[in-house]
């Protein structure tokens, strides 16, 4: 290969590398972030994509920062932190987890839930984890200690989404009325488990049509 051909090949390679970098950037970010922030967020998105993590939550976190006129460093830090949490969530919940579940798992970790509890929830619940993880997060944010909240949600691992959501609302209502958060979670989870057991028993006793 002659020198001239080598120069041509290098030009092509450089063009392709440049194209790959630009392709990784989301068009929604281009007019909302300055070039330096855009490059940093783009690099974080590339890393997340290469690791098989969802990038949409990262895009949204950057857009939130831009909408709130946050400092560029703060936007990059928030995106980087979320990328790390998504990675831990994926390790805890398993590779088969949906992007929505990973996003909910990242929120739970951010609230203070232990990765081990996410893994237990995955093992015990056959349905989607999104609502259960969201309830867990909201309980912790609402003041329930993370281990108490995790125990409660794990006890409801086989409940339906609407039953878990009702449980979460009941606990929040009790807390708003002055109950201690941990006690409210414990009392409400017992009541919810009892209701689920009773309704299952009643449905089992229902006479079947011939």
């Amino acid at each position: 290969m002659t020198t001239l051909h080598q120069v041509s090949a290098l030009a092509l390679a450089a063009a392709l590398v440049g194209t790959g970098t630009a392709r990784a950037q989301d068009p929604r970010l281009m007019h909302r972030l300055d070039s330096v922030t855009l490059a940093s967020v783009g690099a974080l998105m590339d890393s997340a994509r290469a690791a098989g993590l969802p990038v949409e939550p990262l895009v949204q976190r950057a857009l939130e920062g831009a909408a709130k006129h946050a400092e560029p460093d703060r936007i990059v830090a928030a995106v980087r932190r979320l990328a790390g949490e998504l990675g831990v969530a994926r390790a805890a919940l398993g590779r088969e987890s949906s992007p929505v579940e990973l996003d909910a798992g990242a929120s739970a970790l951010r609230a203070g839930v232990r990765p081990e509890d996410l893994t237990l929830l995955r093992q015990r619940r056959t349905q989607s984890l999104t609502v259960a993880l969201a309830a867990l997060t909201d309980l912790v944010v609402g003041g329930v200690p993370p281990d108490s909240a995790a125990s409660a949600v794990l006890a409801l691992a086989r409940a339906r989404d609407d039953q878990i959501a009702d449980f979460r609302r009941a606990v929040e209502r009790d807390i708003a009325l002055g109950a201690a958060p941990a006690a409210a979670a414990a009392v409400r989870v017992d009541a919810t488990v009892r209701d689920i057991t009773n309704s299952a028993a009643n449905s089992g006793n229902t006479p079947r049509k011939p």
Binding site: A11, L12, A22, E64, A66, A67, V100, S107, T130
Partner: protein, 178 residues
């Protein structure tokens, strides 16, 4: 040769002289086969020409031009494809958002369901101008959002769980099952 043999021979000759009924599609079939053989022969010639090694001289400027053209094609093609799939209508749940903002001139709902664009989801005030509402379809998942009052003041939803604050302005969270 006997007389009756001559008659038989004459009948055979007459029979052979009768015109044969041909399938009217025969000509078309024959011409199709001929044409296809011609195409195959031409394709074989082209393939042979393409496979024959030869030396191509290219100037440096032409090489750079080709590299730039290849890069431009790769650049343009992916941008035409949609980068993000729109959510299916069957998966969405209408969710109503309400905030009390007396005296506000305008209030927007801003969140990750509208790419945090304050122009996209304006809220509507009641007759007194105190209660602002809007209903938006949401896909399953956990959505962060906030209310933007008069384009300047971020307000969290008092009826929803708070989201961690990364940017010094409050946000809330709504979860849609599914």
């Amino acid at each position: 040769m006997f007389e009756h043999d001559d008659d038989a021979l004459n009948r055979m000759i007459d029979r052979l002289r009768e015109p044969v009924e041909m399938d009217p599609r025969l000509d078309a079939r024959v011409m199709t086969r001929v044409a296809s053989r011609g195409f195959a022969a031409r394709a074989a010639l082209v393939w042979e020409w393409l496979r024959r090694p030869r030396t191509v001289a290219i100037s440096p400027i032409a090489g750079l031009g080709l590299a730039a053209a290849a890069a431009a094609i790769i650049w343009i093609l992916p941008s035409r494809a949609p980068q993000f799939a729109a959510p299916l209508a069957a998966d969405v749940t209408p969710v109503q958002f309400v905030v009390v903002a007396p005296g506000a001139e305008h209030v927007s709902l801003v969140g990750d369901f509208n790419d945090w664009d304050a122009r996209l989801t304006p809220m509507r005030a009641d007759r007194d101008g105190r209660l602002w509402t809007v209903t938006v379809p949401l896909t399953p998942g956990r959505h962060r959002y906030a209310f933007l009052v008069n384009g300047a003041r971020w307000v969290a939803d008092p009826s929803a769980p708070r989201a961690p604050d990364d940017f010094g302005a409050p946000s809330s969270v709504v979860t849609v099952g599914g």
